[in-house]
Amino acid sequence: MHPSTHAYEHGTDQLLRPLLLSLADDDFMLGYRDSEWTGIAPMLEEDIAMSSVSQDEIGHARALYEISVEMGRRATSDEEYGGSPKTIAREVDALAYGREKTEYHSSWLAEHHRGDWAFTIARRYLYETADEVRLEALSGSACTPLANVLTKVRREERYHTMHLRTWLDRLAASPAARPRLLAALHSLWPDALGFWEELEGEDSLVASGAMPLSSEAMRERWLTRITAELEEHGISGPDAGLTPRTGGRRGERSPGFEEFWAEVTQVYRLHPGATW
């Protein structure tokens, strides 16, 4: 499938890169972090559910990396890409594991360690609701390959938000769990606001229609929504004067990333270029 749109014209791949990679890297990091529950979650049933969700996220990241790989190829040659699935997979791996740390565009919200179950649910809640707004807006992107992939992604995200809201309701309603949930939300607000940090070259992304809404406009939409939803649980949104924690979209990695990344790339770096 090679929809021919202006998205593939020379130069656009560089423009689109921060957008594609911020989406992909977020899903990738969060998928990794939540996959750490596999085998040790509080209940066997939840273990399986959380594992499915984390696999979905990594699957979404892979689909987005593929677009980036394909665009990179198109930009450097006039040929149809036509790489074999194996070559594409290798280039996706190089993109996923092989960049310098400063070349990742993930938000800190997605990068944090899974923490305890309350932290995981709070982070997922903030992330999924934000992602919902982002996917909704970007499904109308002028970059057709992106819009197409995101339409599919949104179908899979339905299960995630269903599952997540079940847990939010439960933790909020349990007297013993509620303080943990509130503490986790409190610690995460600056990162949740930082999720909406302006992307590199965002003005051009908006002007070209690749981003139908700016990060700021999406942030406002998201804040309105979750403030109303949290209010139903008697939970207040972020304080008005709170400073967002930013940097993730511009190559700064969160505390704890170094150790995490050393583990993730341990085997990959062992014999560069080897097949495993």
Binding site: E45, I48, T166
Partner: protein, 96 residues
């Protein structure tokens, strides 16, 4: 702990029978749906699941009711041997 057991029935393709595939436990109906999806549908092997609280399943196994001892062959296809009768009718017709 207050967990409930749910029996899960699975339809593998449209139009097929809903076949009992096992059970799960969950604290309530909402999570039961999630766990049924995970345990019996995460590979795309189902098009429909029925998730039924075990308490609602009525079981009947009594052989006096299900396998009564006297002849019921008149109720089944096997109870009718027609070949010889048909042959006899044909023989009679040819002879006439």
């Amino acid at each position: 702990m207050d967990m409930h057991v749910y029996e899960v029935f699975q339809q593998q393709k449209e139009g097929g029978a809903l076949v009992h595939s096992g059970n799960i436990q969950a604290p309530d109906d909402r999570l039961a749906i999630h766990y049924a999806r995970e345990l019996y549908g995460r590979r795309g092997e189902s098009v429909r699941l029925w998730v039924i609280p075990r308490d609602h399943v009525l079981e009947l196994t009594d052989p006096d009711l299900l396998k009564p001892p006297f002849d019921r062959s008149y109720r089944s296809v096997e109870g009718y041997r027609l070949r010889d009768k048909l042959a006899s009718v044909r023989a009679a017709r040819e002879g006439s």
